[in-house]
């Protein structure tokens, strides 16, 4: 029976069906649900690793030891895991290893939109690109087979729309596979220069074999128009071919005329040269439609073919169906041509769906910290003190947005502490007296700890705020080493953050509740003034975290309300950036705009109550 699955669910299912025994990942949108789903299959040992490098190293160990392995991460996670990845290419695997790279074209939830197919080419490993959930399931199984057959890790590259779209899948049963034999093999697994020199030619040879495989692989297929009935009409018209991959294939199928021939590449590295050149020679003109970089196109042009590509299609952002349609209006289905050609026909042309309704710029709706969020108090104080804030990746990055505006830099996971130290080194101690690094608990464990060691070792005085909300918030509340629970829900040893921080040599370690605004402010001022490194552990659980007693505690509070007679319209509370506080229209004849509370959203956290000087905001009794 067919069932609806997201691409991420289908990856986990495919791994399970293919007898995978170990799954590792660090959470990151759009990849997170892969391991969350994998963890529901008891036959697979799934883990949240502290970071992507560790995830791939654990995966490498599992595969070399003979068990089939799935490793998943978002595109920028592969940057973190790149070190083991490139050498894993040399050692090869024993049992199959698939690395899922979930890229984020359009940057729905990312700091860049790098195209990770380049990693496949740079690390000289095959890259597979599914276009829907059934292909996710099928490709992960095939990737494990290829991995073992060619002794290589295989990258399966997803994009947000493949990961987070649901489509129909025919699930199968699990195939139990016994562990492959493990034996010590120094020349294969100890990459001393002498051994690595022997492995590199093997890698190059492997690529040639994979390119040969790509010529006949079911992953790459041509879809020719049905010419029987229209044969005569087609004679004499120009034959058009399109080479495409991943989700773009589905968009092309959606908008392009049925007379267009398609070459769908499910394997985009290495490319099948003969198959592609036969296809290009079978048509009069050929278009390469791929999202982000000209990865396929560059290789094809290097072979000397003349094709249309990035001179027509953007390199930036998602390549949406309407973008394809507006780039090649002459190739569209007849039913869509009228809708997407209005722009070129001018304003007087016959009505069209989109173009004569020029998009109006409406007031935006940026994401906000949730009602009751512990981070709101932190950034309110940082803003009031006008500090330089070196930020990091997580929900708390939203502290950068108005009205909190309390962040200067956000680069990548774990960067905050190192960036703050660099600022101190360049601008001196006085500058550092108004400088803090802000990092979440999960991000600190991911890659903040090494930079903190740098601060201690190289005599910095950086003040670091670890925002410990007891979860990995932005990606949807995953466990991490600081929560003391595994992805499978088992209780485990919980990292003691204060003890960890002291152990690397930080003497000044303070824990504080950010909702105690006065104490938090005092502690912050004191620690920034100190002539040595300090760490403030800002502790309050995420309001959404489950299952947590804290949640019931917080939501048990009734919404707050405003005593309108006392409200002076000072708007101090609005500096919190709480979505529940609303600026009212002035009463007739009055100028002051008072504040009211949206009771449907307010969870009664009381932060606004504590800073309302006229005491107009009050907790409701009972």
């Amino acid at each position: 029976m067919k069932v609806l699955m997201t691409g991420n669910e289908a990856i986990a299912r495919g791994a399970w069906e293919a007898g995978v025994v170990v799954c590792t990942a660090y959470p990151g949108t759009p990849s997170t649900e892969i391991i969350e789903n994998a963890a529901t299959y008891k036959e697979m040992d799934s883990e949240w690793s502290p970071n992507e490098k560790v995830a791939l190293e654990v995966g490498l160990g599992a595969a070399v030891a003979g068990g089939r392995t799935l490793v998943a991460m978002k595109h920028v996670g592969v940057n973190v895991a790149a070190d083991p990845l490139f050498t894993l290419s040399y050692t090869g695997v024993n049992a199959g290893l698939v690395l899922i790279s979930a890229d984020d074209p359009g940057m729905h939830s990312s700091q860049d939109e790098q195209d990770n197919r380049h990693y496949g080419r740079a690390a000289k490993i095959p890259v597979l690109e599914p276009s829907d959930s059934q292909e996710c399931l099928d490709y992960v199984k095939l990737a494990l087979t290829l991995s073992e057959e060619y002794d290589t890790p295989v990258m399966l590259r997803m994009t947000t729309r493949v990961s987070h779209s649901q489509s129909l899948v025919s699930p199968g049963n699990r195939q139990e596979i016994s562990l492959r034999d493990y034996s010590k093999n120094p020349s294969k697994y100890i990459m001393l220069p002498g051994h690595a020199r022997l492995r590199h030619p093997i890698v190059e040879e492997r690529l040639k074999k994979l390119a040969a495989y790509a010529e006949t692989s079911p992953l790459n297929r041509t879809e020719e128009p049905e010419r029987s009935e229209d044969q005569e009409r087609l004679e004499g018209t120009r034959r058009v071919g399109v080479i495409t991959n991943g989700i773009t294939y589905q968009y092309a199928r959606e908008v392009l005329d049925e007379n267009v021939s398609l070459l769908k590449l499910g394997m985009t590295y290495p490319l099948p040269r003969q198959l592609i050149s036969d296809f290009i020679q079978s048509v009069d003109e050929c278009y390469i439609i791929e999202e982000l970089d000209s990865f396929i196109e560059d290789q094809i042009r290097a072979w000397g073919f003349s094709v249309y590509g990035k001179e027509l299609f953007p390199t930036v952002g998602e390549l949406l169906p309407e973008t394809i349609a507006s780039c090649v209006p002459s190739l569209l289905k007849p039913s869509l041509r009228r809708d997407f050609t209005a722009a070129s026909r001018g304003p007087d042309s016959e009505s069209a769906n989109t173009e004569d309704r020029a998009p109006v710029q409406h007031v935006g709706r940026p994401p906000v910290l949730c009602p009751g969020c512990p981070h709101r108090a932190v950034f309110y104080v940082l803003n009031r003190l006008k500090l330089t804030v070196s930020g990091d990746i997580g929900c708390y990055t939203l502290g950068a947005l108005p009205p909190l505006n309390a962040m200067d830099t956000t680069i990548c996971m774990g960067a905050s502490i190192g960036v703050a130290l660099g600022m101190e080194k360049a601008r001196g101690r006085d500058f550092a007296r108004n400088l803090v690094a802000v990092i979440g608990d999960s991000t600190f464990v991911h890659s903040g700890i090494t930079a903190l060691i740098d601060v201690v070792y190289n005599k910095g005085t950086t003040t670091t705020l670890i925002l410990d909300n007891s979860t990995t918030g932005m990606t949807g509340h995953q466990e991490n080493p600081a929560t003391g629970v595994t992805v499978r829900g088992e209780v485990t040893t919980r990292i003691d953050l204060p003890m960890l921080v002291r152990a690397v040599g930080v003497n000044r370690v303070v824990e504080v509740d950010p909702f105690d605004l006065d104490r938090f402010t005092d502690v912050l001022k004191r620690e920034m003034a100190a002539e040595e490194p300090s760490v403030i552990i800002v502790k309050r659980p995420c309001v959404l975290v489950r299952p947590a007693p804290a949640r019931s505690q917080v939501s048990a509070q009734p919404p707050v309300s405003v005593n309108s007679a006392l409200c002076t319209g000072c708007a101090q509370c609005l500096r919190l950036g709480c979505p529940c506080l609303v600026k009212d229209e002035p009463e007739p004849g009055a100028k002051i705009r008072k504040v009211s509370v949206d009771a449907s959203q307010c969870i009664g956290c009381g932060l606004c109550v504590s800073l309302c000087r006229p005491q107009a905001i009050v907790r409701k009794e009972g």
């Binding site: 609806l4 759009p30 729309r161 589905q250 169906p321 769906n353 949730c370 009205p403 600026k583």
Partner: protein, 198 residues
């Protein structure tokens, strides 16, 4: 599998992160799947869902390729909030069915006073789509016992515009929502389906 007016049919569900658009799209997808259609659903997770503008897309028919709807190609827009409905109108076909909740939720630039909520949002929806159907889904959901059930009220309204038996909707609802919330959700569905406040 019954024939539908456009094959595939494209439904755009828009709202504010936290309003339950994803659950609504999953129930809708379950319903059309039960009727034997091919179906694809697209959602966005992560940063975008923290109180931001969210959109989920459901497409169904005899065969669906793209999981997302191109601009100007949505057959139905189901708006959970006025401003979001207005924002996404360019995705609707000319003759699209527009159904929208009259609730307004202030975005942060409005909260801080940097911008104003368009006071004529509803007029603009109605002037572009005179047949657009408003519903006060929040009040109806509250009357049913849970403000959170706004999404199911709106599904009830949507169900009037799709020729799919009520039983199928109720079956999928029962299979999707927790048992303790079933009565509230059934009531919310009925309120949306039968209790139009036009």
């Amino acid at each position: 599998m019954d024939t539908i007016q456009n094959d595939p049919l494209s439904i755009l569900i828009v709202g504010v992160g936290g309003q339950g658009t994803i659950l609504a799209s999953r129930i809708l997808a379950g319903v059309v799947l039960r009727k034997g259609y091919d179906v694809k659903v697209s959602e966005i997770h992560g940063m975008a869902q923290r109180g931001g503008s969210v959109v989920t897309q459901v497409r169904f028919g005899s065969k669906v390729a793209s999981p997302i709807i191109a601009q100007g190609q949505a057959d139905i827009i189901l708006g959970f909030e006025k401003l979001e409905t207005l924002r996404w109108l360019p995705y609707a076909r000319r003759n699209a069915t527009v159904l929208y909740n009259t609730q307004s939720i202030n975005p942060m630039p409005v909260v801080t006073g940097a911008a104003v909520y368009p006071p004529d949002a509803e007029d603009r929806i109605q002037s572009e789509f005179p047949q657009a159907v408003p519903i006060d889904a929040l009040s109806l959901a509250q009357k049913c016992g849970a403000a959170k059930a706004v999404n199911v009220v709106l599904l009830g309204l949507l169900s009037r515009f799709l020729s799919i038996e009520e039983d199928v909707w109720l079956d999928i609802l029962r299979e999707t929502v927790p048992e303790r919330l079933l009565d509230v959700n059934n009531a919310a569905f009925q309120a949306g389906r039968n209790g139009l406040l036009v």
